[in-house]
């Protein structure tokens, strides 16, 4: 059986290269994310860093760990999804070969063993190729983390010997997971199918696909319903995962959806379009296999980008609504007295941001929370941030839970550290309302923070002008203290800065994932065309020129791409609903922000990739004399 696996592998290499590439990149991504994750988790910060740098990189490392974990989970999901869909497609393309084996005495068990043998071979080879590719990806990922400021300069993920075993296991594991369902199905092929030349004799829409579609659709609906009650922390991941579940569901039922949507193709638009439409409906498996990675790509990218942009907009609206001020001065240290001395200033609230760590000790547990603290004057803070009267409780070692909510709840007590400096015990006595865009985790009285730390820390001072004072004049006078902006300008800059982390995370996780999904799309195109040489030859011998065949295949491919994009948008719609409901629950206004330039770029990119793949594969598939190809077949 192994020899048969090997010989069919050698013979149909074009079909298998696609599967091999998906395994290779899946292994590379998983291996790299795992090594980066472990390196980030065990990373020791250089000893010569200052207290504040240490705290900043400490926070960055926490983000790097989360980020690598996210990339790891996402890579594993994509690897299983794309490898399964590619393997199922390659097995389906060989249905006639498999029936032939049944005809000459192959049992179901032998067919199953043959396909599993191939999967082990492909998984092993894919892992062997994926391990060196993973080293390149790892260097890239480490560089990206440093570039985005999540890791200090000089951070590099380290190689570990045991990863060889893990990567081999991942390669063979995803290949096996990918082939098992397809193999069981293919083993049930009837020997008589070898005598039929239709190729597409099997039902594409199976019970298994319905079950997957049902389970994931239910998951998507549950996430949409739960997102609004998830709060600022829970809503974004739930909304984004709704698109993930919906895109898997959409991919599973794509054999039903593709022919339905294909009927929207203009009829009577000429023989080429008519032929493309007919091929689209007839080759349901091919169309569905091409659309599947597109649906996941578009669903995830669109869902995540719209969710992040919308929550950022909602955060900005919330920030803007919860602060009343005429001007904002950004400087270093407590500049309040200098601001107060400027003519035309009626009132001010200076808020200094310091990195904090709080160690809460419970009966049998120690919990260390890190985040940002804001040193404020309670009276001034309440004046500039309506609804935060609870801040009046600040004083001594009594602190208030801030709008970011990252460290402690009213009633808890712990040990405070500002950066690396112990600052004594604290008691959380009250909380101000939480905000969508986040913010400080703790509001602190000035007495808790050593003066030298306070002097270096960044601050923002909200300023209210005296009636009749000229804003431009006052701003000019304040410019000597720090950077002066209007409240609107500051709010959008602040939101953008908060959002920068999310966007970086998006770029790292999605960028690699999207690249992998693009490989899946190209693969499906190549595998689909590899089996169509005879069909193309028949078309040419019927009177179509080579260019006409290429055009028909291109129209078909563009139509599948359009359908994939449409279904991807459909999958992302779950996220849109979740985002609208969540933002309405958080700030009272449903907020949807679409990053149009990005969305259009994804659409155009997908069309270009599919179009180019189609043209190249069809040109390759129509090489040679069609009549001699058909004759050779007889």
């Amino acid at each position: 059986m192994l020899r048969l696996s090997w010989s069919s592998f050698v013979e149909r290499w074009a079909l298998f290269v696609g599967a091999l590439v998906t395994v290779c990149f899946g292994v590379a991504l998983v291996q790299s994310s795992l090594l980066v994750l472990i390196s980030a988790a065990t990373y020791q910060l250089p000893a010569d860093l200052s207290v504040l740098e240490r705290a900043r990189y400490g926070e960055g490392t926490a983000i790097a760990i989360t980020l690598s974990a996210l990339t790891l989970a996402f890579s594993a999901f994509l690897a299983v999804f794309i490898v399964s869909s590619t393997f199922a497609f390659t097995v389906a393309q060989r249905r006639r070969d498999l029936a032939l084996l049944r005809l000459v005495g192959g049992s179901r068990r032998q067919l199953h063993r043959l396909l599993v043998g191939e999967a082990v071979l492909l998984g092993g080879l894919g892992a062997a190729l994926g391990i060196p590719v993973g080293l390149v990806v790892m260097r890239f990922q480490s560089g990206l983390l440093t570039m985005l400021g999540f890791a200090p300069p000089g951070f590099a993920a380290e190689w570990r010997n045991w990863i060889l075993g893990v990567s081999a296991g991942v390669g063979i594991g995803v290949a096996l997971a990918g082939v098992l369902v397809a193999a069981s199905r293919a083993a049930r092929v009837q020997p008589l199918e070898a005598l039929r030349d239709t190729g597409e004799s099997a039902r594409v829409m199976t019970v298994g696909r319905w079950v997957i579609a049902g389970v994931f659709a239910a998951g998507a609906i549950a996430l949409v319903v739960l997102a609004p009650i998830g709060g600022a922390g829970g809503a974004p991941p739930m909304a984004i995962n709704a698109a993930l579940c919906a895109s898997v569901a959409m991919s599973a039922i794509s054999p039903v959806l593709v022919p339905v949507v294909s009927r929207l193709l203009p009829s009577g638009a000429g023989v080429i379009t008519g032929l493309a439409g007919a091929n689209l409906r007839d080759g349901v498996r091919r169309s569905a296999a091409t659309a599947a990675p597109l649906i996941v790509l578009v669903g995830l990218v669109l869902g995540q980008s719209v969710a992040l942009a919308s929550f950022a907009s909602a955060g900005e609206l919330d920030q803007r609504a919860s602060t009343v001020a005429d001007l904002v001065v950004e400087a270093d240290g407590p500049v309040g007295p200098r601001v107060a001395a400027v003519a035309g200033v009626a009132a001010h609230s200076t808020e200094v941001e310091v990195p904090v760590t709080v160690t809460f000790t419970y009966d049998d547990d120690v919990d260390v929370e890190g985040g940002s603290g804001l040193v404020v004057d309670p009276v001034a803070y309440a004046r500039f941030h309506p609804g935060t009267d609870a801040v009046a409780g600040l004083g001594g070692n009594a602190v208030v839970a801030g709008p970011g909510r990252g460290a402690g709840t009213p009633g808890s007590s712990g040990e405070l550290r500002i950066g690396d400096t112990a600052a004594g015990p604290l008691h959380v006595v009250a909380e101000v309302p939480s905000r969508t865009g986040g913010g400080a985790d703790l509001l602190l009285p000035g007495a808790l923070v050593p003066a030298d730390l306070l002097a270096q820390a960044p601050s923002r001072t909200f300023v209210e002008l005296l009636p009749g004072a000229d804003p431009a004049t006052v701003a000019g006078a304040l410019a000597g203290i720090g950077e002066v902006s209007t409240l609107d300008a500051w709010a959008s800059r602040d939101a953008a800065a908060r959002n920068a982390t999310s966007i970086s995370i998006f770029l790292v996780v999605m960028g690699l994932g999207a690249a992998y999904a693009v490989i899946g799309v190209i693969n499906a195109g190549v595998i689909g065309a590899a089996a169509r040489r005879t069909e193309f030859a028949v078309l040419r011998s019927t009177g179509l020129t080579r260019m006409q065949v290429v055009r028909a295949a291109l129209v078909e491919s563009l139509a599948v791409t359009g359908i994939g994009l449409l279904l991807g948008v459909g999958a992302a719609a779950g996220t849109f609903v979740a985002v609208a409901m969540s933002t309405a629950a958080m700030i009272g206004i449903p907020t949807i922000t679409v990053p149009w330039a990005f969305v259009i770029a994804v659409g155009v990119g997908a069309v270009a990739i599919c179009g180019v793949t189609s043209v190249i594969t069809t040109v390759a598939g129509t090489r040679g004399n069609p009549v001699s190809l058909l004759a050779a077949r007889e």
């Binding site: 013979e11 005809l103 000459v104 005495g105 192959g106 179901r108 020997p191 008589l192 005598l195 030349d197």
Partner: protein, 249 residues
Amino acid sequence: MTTFSAPRTALAAVALHGVRRTYGAGASAVRAVDDVSVEFPRGTWTAVMGPSGSGKSTLLHCAAGLERVDAGRVLLGDTDLTTASDDQLTQLRRSRIGFVFQSFNLVGSLTAQQNVALPLRLAGSSPSRSEVRAVLAAVGMADRARHRPRELSGGQQQRVAIARAMVTRPEVLFADEPTGALDSGSARTVLALMRSMVEAGQTIVMVTHDPAAAASADATVFLRDGRVVDRLIGATTRDVADRLVALEG
């Protein structure tokens, strides 16, 4: 019921009793095989002929256990194919039934000798190279043992396919248009090969459109609309062609 049996020998190699096979349902139902009873005696070569759509191929598939029948019984020797499980049918294809088809159906990735050895390997035995070479030599293909199907002509591929079918020494060889894709020279070679196999005691059931091929057989069974309508024994090419024209008219 239409029954045209050859003089009954001890036990027919294959026997169909009251076999029915219908495709589709309701108004669009087509009875491809309609209450057919026929026996194929051991050591004989029977051709099955008839106009297009007369049910020839379906009859062959039912007789070989490739297609389930709706009614009736199919016996291979004393084994009832109609009640056999999938595993039992697989065993039969390995040991007692051989197939040859118009489109050769060789595994493209394997050489001629690997194709021939395939049924034995699937059955769990490892045939010696000389054993496989001997079978290839019997069909005149010993010198092409290491070629892949695409490196062989149509006639050569069909001879490899026959060698693959014969390597298990099956009780019955089922052939569906074995000369349909061949030029007349190659067709003559293949028919001569099949004749020599029958002389050595092989049972062959062959569907064909070609009166010359049918005339090479010992007997010809004619089908129309899923029913056996005639049987000729020892007929010439002209006899077969005339009978076929009469049926199509």
